[in-house]
């Protein structure tokens, strides 16, 4: 049976991948309750940049430093503020120890207030994805082709296809940097929460409540378990607690391996395109790939 070989140089494959990458964007959201506080994020994600290398032995496509752009990214933090109460101290001590009379506590809010604030972290988290991929060949039986002849399907762009997909062996996601402005944004959380809680009340009331609570900074630091290193805290919250990076890895792996091919070949293939005559379509069978250090070679039986 006659064979056909198509070869794409590494540069040509990079151009194909760049075009493929630029079509990718997706959204993610998740929420969690972590006892004294809750958090939820909503993110839009796209991919940019990256370097593509073809590798022989084993045959694989290596993609490095593919930027994961997380923008927009909104993070909502919900906090249970403890009761803000006065009184409750001992007024008649027991000479033998303890307290004989303790004043009832009078609380300044009807119940423990739950307050939340949303901060915009869009574009402030820099991360990258790298991975190694097999070139997976699969055949796509187009369900829309049913009842059509080969030529009708060709003209209607409803043909079956041989598809080349990037099937990941592994993927790594690295957090490269968190912008310095995140610290300032988190600092604004305190004022946002106080305004949300006591908006409309005079400044001295807000200050008195902050003071009775022992300072909102220490309180919020404790509730959010804000460690010394804010970068680590934020990456743990988004990555470990809310699973943002796991979601990105799983989504990218599924998209590359199962959803969109990086390259597809129509079957039957128009070896002579339509001109004054109808195109010449030749069936393609047994498609296979071979990756060398310099090119991707696609071979198939024809006829």
């Amino acid at each position: 049976m006659p064979q056909i070989n198509l070869a794409a140089s590494e540069n040509a494959f990079r151009a194909i991948f760049d075009a493929y990458r630029d079509t990718i964007n997706f959204s993610a959201s998740n929420a969690g309750d972590f006892g004294p506080f809750s958090a939820a994020y909503s993110a839009g994600i796209r991919l940019e940049g990256g370097t593509v290398d073809l590798e022989n032995s084993p045959d694989q496509v290596k993609i490095s430093e593919l930027d994961v752009v997380i923008d927009p990214l909104s993070l909502t933090l919900g906090i249970d503020i403890p009761s803000v109460c006065v009184g409750g101290f001992c007024i008649v001590p027991n000479p033998f120890g303890g307290c004989l009379v303790r004043l009832p506590r009078i609380c300044l809010f009807e119940a423990d207030p739950d307050i939340s604030t949303t901060i915009d972290l869009g574009g402030l988290i820099e991360s990258e994805i790298s991975g190694a991929f097999d070139m997976k060949v699969s055949y796509f039986n187009n369900p829309d082709r049913a009842g059509l002849t080969d030529h009708q399907a060709h003209f209607a762009a409803k043909t079956n296809e041989w598809q080349l997909k990037l099937d990941p062996r592994w993927l790594d996601i690295d957090l490269i940097d968190i912008s310095d402005t995140v610290g300032n944004i988190l600092d604004s959380v305190i004022d946002n929460l106080v305004d949300g809680l006591l908006g409309g009340l005079p400044g001295w009331v807000k200050d008195a409540v902050r003071w009775i609570l022992g300072g909102m900074a220490d309180l919020i630091r404790g509730i959010l378990d804000l460690a010394d290193d804010v970068d680590e805290w934020l990456s743990n919250l988004l990555g470990t607690s809310l699973g943002l990076f796991d979601f990105i890895a799983t989504w990218v792996a599924d998209y590359f391996a199962n959803r969109e091919p990086v390259f597809s070949i129509e079957d039957p293939y128009p070896v002579i395109k339509a001109g004054s005559l109808i195109p010449v379509l030749i069936p393609i069978k047994n498609l296979s790939t071979d990756i060398t250090d310099v090119e991707l070679v696609v071979s198939a039986d024809i006829g």
Binding site: V86, G87, F89, C90, I91, V92, L100, V101, L103, P104, I106, C107, L108, F109, E110, D114, I115, S116, S127, D167, P168, R169, W170, L171, D172, I173, D174, L175, I176, G183, D187, V189, I190, G196, L197, L201, G203, W204, K206, D207, A208, R210, W211, I212, G214, G215, A217, D218, I220, L226, D228, D229, V230, D231, E232, S235, G239, F245, D246, I248
Partner: protein, 243 residues
């Protein structure tokens, strides 16, 4: 985000045992064991009454009576409230909602007659009166049995004062004697108790003279950035389970 705020607590600027309002407490030790009839007045009108029994049968040393709760009691429940306390027990009267114009008195049943032993409009020897002043500013306190007064200053809440926050549990104590107050002035933290110990029958009123609005509580998280240069942190290492 609907949070109900105890607005009267923040707006209250006049404190008196005669009109026991928000953030005010009276502590009264019962003079004798026996059966007491308590009456709650709104102005001059009795709106409810309650029973208070002081007996060896009970071990509790303190009973808290929220006088504003009687105002909202359904008619069918009026007069059915009963409180029990052990001998030499203390009654703590307070007004959680700050409803104004409420008065309380206790009458002890002796020889088939009721004898008045307590009236919040005039406190007696041994009674304690506590105010919690939230609003920063200058206050003036006056005792009904003396001409001299007392100047009080509630400091504006700042980060600097946080180191003294534990003093919230230590009220500033003032004695009310024959000649009035034992001191001329005192400084308080916002929310700190102001305790008057009555050595003589009297009444005390404390009013905001001049509020202080200047100041700013400006605590920041002061977050630490530990990075010195870009250092990637591995977040996910995903391996295809089918490979």
């Amino acid at each position: 985000m609907a949070i109900k705020i105890n607005k009267t607590a923040f707006s209250h600027t006049s404190f008196s045992n005669e009109d026991l309002g928000s953030l005010s407490y009276i502590v009264h030790q019962l003079p004798k064991k026996g059966y007491y009839n308590g009456k709650i007045y709104q102005g001059k009108k009795v709106i409810d009454h309650f029973e208070l029994t002081c007996s060896d049968e009970f071990k509790t040393r303190q009973v808290d009576i929220d006088i504003c709760s009687f105002r909202n009691t359904p008619i069918s429940e009026k007069g059915k409230s009963g409180f029990k306390v052990g001998p030499e027990g203390y009654v703590v009267f307070f007004n959680s909602q700050g409803t104004s114009g409420l008065r309380v008195r206790l009458d002890l049943l002796e020889k088939e007659k009721f004898r008045n032993t307590f009236d919040n409009t005039k406190l007696g020897k041994g009674d304690l009166l506590v105010f919690t002043l939230l609003r920063p500013g200058s206050y003036r306190a006056l005792a009904s049995n003396a001409r001299s007064g007392l100047n009080l200053e509630v400091q504006y809440p700042t980060e600097k004062l946080l180191t003294r926050r534990q003093d919230l549990n230590k009220p500033v104590e003032i004695e009310v004697g024959k000649k009035g107050f034992n001191i001329n002035s005192a400084k308080l933290l916002p929310g700190q108790g102001l305790l008057f110990r009555f050595q003589e029958p009297s009444s005390v009123i404390t009013r905001l003279a001049k509020p202080v609005d200047e100041g700013k509580f400006n605590d920041k998280l002061k977050l630490v950035r530990k990075k010195s240069k870009k250092k990637p942190r591995r977040q996910v290492h995903w391996v295809n389970p089918r490979k």
